[in-house]
């Protein structure tokens, strides 16, 4: 006797594995739910790599389109979130490399000071600090920058970062220490001001 068919639960009640399976088969609602779960994480990572909201939006959008296209090749060796974050990082890095205009974002601080037509001293100071920090971050070598962003700014674990970047946990720790040390020397005067 054939087993009675189990009714398919509504998409919202399905677990992640089921959502992935259904999304792979073309279930738009399942993919939408996966997107709802991870879009903010993806956006945060994209923002840290690109440094502005417009680019972060573009990177997130492109990354999810790639995720959808590559879903059939997702074997489940890594967690879905790790796989997705890896795609976001790759899209962000590719975009940074290709987008020549992004190079112009490293604006000398004299221009930041001169360009801000604002009476609020605190606002100017915050803008300057952000510019310093962003500049220091973007001057790091690619792997160090990626580790600092993912481990510190996005709060991922060493294990997660090593899975995303496909390197050992020891490499992540070493690059985190070196990256933060390099930033320390670049931000020394800022630390003194804040002290």
């Amino acid at each position: 006797m054939a087993a009675a068919e189990q009714p398919v639960p509504p998409a919202r009640e399905r677990g992640e594995q089921q959502l992935i399976q259904h999304a792979t088969k073309g279930d738009g609602e399942a993919f939408r739910l996966l997107m709802d779960r991870y879009i903010r994480h993806a956006y945060n990572i994209a923002y840290r790599f690109t440094g502005d909201h417009d680019s972060a939006e573009d990177v997130t959008q492109e990354a999810f389109v790639k995720v959808h296209a590559a879903l059939p090749s997702f074997r489940g060796d890594a967690e879905f979130s790790t796989w997705l974050h890896r795609i976001v990082v790759n899209v962000a890095l590719t975009r940074k490399r290709l987008d020549k205009n992004r190079v112009q974002r490293h604006v000398p601080l004299e221009e930041v000071r001169g360009g801000v037509e604002c009476d609020h001293h605190e606002e100017i100071v915050v803008k300057e600090q952000q510019a310093y920090i962003e500049q220091a971050l973007h001057e790091l070598p690619t792997l160090q920058r990626a580790v600092v962003i993912l481990r510190h700014l996005n709060g991922l674990s060493t294990r997660q970062v090593s899975d995303i970047l496909q390197c050992s946990e020891g490499t992540v720790k070493t690059h985190l220490f070196r990256g933060l040390k390099k930033m320390r020397s670049k931000l020394e005067h800022l630390q003194e001001e804040l002290a």
Binding site: Y43, V65, H68, A69, S73, N90, L153, K173, K181, R184
Partner: protein, 270 residues
């Protein structure tokens, strides 16, 4: 413990992410080692000025933004599905990942290829094949079809003008007055523009134009796949895409940079 071992776990030490045994070992080392204690103090200062993980940029966007972003992704997916397979996409991502994080391997491979190229050049068979008339003709033909900079600019300018005309027509279409709208013209024009976009993407473009042409290609693919008559829901979707992406404005800005002083004959679509 070696200095480097301690320094590599200072971040975890500060965030209480070490096992008790490791934590005690690091604490003992720090009590006895000035160099590592200084590194710890420096690390604390650096972390104090960096943005804290608890404040995330996504918190600055509202619910409408996430809804709109999800819609844009789904719209792109409809265009993307026709042009790329999952396996190919995954392969491209893997290559990009490799290039991004292991540039030394890429440079080495590039150097090896260069050496091989030089070796092949110097040790190639020493005879010169006669250049046949046909080859000369081919070369001249090839030279003829490579566009000059002016031709290329003119072609891009024409592409933007045609795209704008089509999209203005779509944006201004009065769907409520016409119960049966014939979309066959729009379909055929958008097909030719998709073809043109792909040709344009093979030549050097500035970043803004390249991106705009890619965006327009997606819209054109959606237009090309409309039903011949009365596909109003999809027309509405495309119209909202045109508005959201501010495409008409972007086209006008991009076209302005390509407009040459020589005014060409206006190439009407309709």
């Amino acid at each position: 413990m070696r200095h480097s071992d301690v320094q590599n776990v200072l971040y975890d030490f500060l965030h209480n992410e070490l096992s008790d045994a490791d934590r005690n070992a690091v604490a003992q080392h720090l009590a006895a080692c000035r160099q590592c204690a200084d590194e710890l103090a420096g690390l604390q200062k650096t972390l104090a000025v960096l943005p804290h993980p608890s404040s995330q940029p996504a918190d600055e966007r509202d619910a409408m933004f996430w809804h709109s972003l999800a819609m844009n992704v789904q719209r792109d997916i409809r265009g993307e599905r026709k042009s790329r397979t999952g396996v190919f996409s995954a392969l491209v991502d893997r290559v990009r990942s490799f290039v991004a994080f292991r540039p030394a391997y890429v440079y080495s491979a590039g150097a090896a290829l260069a050496v091989m190229g030089i070796a092949v050049f110097f040790f190639r068979p020493q005879f010169e094949a006669p250049i046949h008339v046909a080859e000369k003709e081919d070369m001249s033909e090839e030279a003829r079809i490579i566009p000059t900079a002016n031709e290329s600019h003119q072609r891009i300018s024409d592409y933007f003008r045609k795209s704008k005309t089509l999209l203005v027509g779509i944006a201004n279409m009065r769907t409520e007055d016409e119960p049966n709208i014939d979309l066959s013209d729009e379909r055929s024009v958008s097909r030719s523009l998709v073809h043109e976009a792909r040709l344009l993407q093979q030549q050097p473009l500035d970043g803004r134009s390249a991106r705009l042409i890619r965006d327009l290609e997606k819209i054109m693919i959606e237009l090309a796949n409309l039903e011949e008559t009365n596909d109003l829901p999809n027309v509405e979707l495309i119209r909202s895409g045109i508005r959201q992406e501010n495409l008409l404005f972007k086209i006008r800005m991009a076209a302005a940079s390509y407009d040459t002083s020589q005014s060409s004959v206006t190439d009407r679509i309709y």
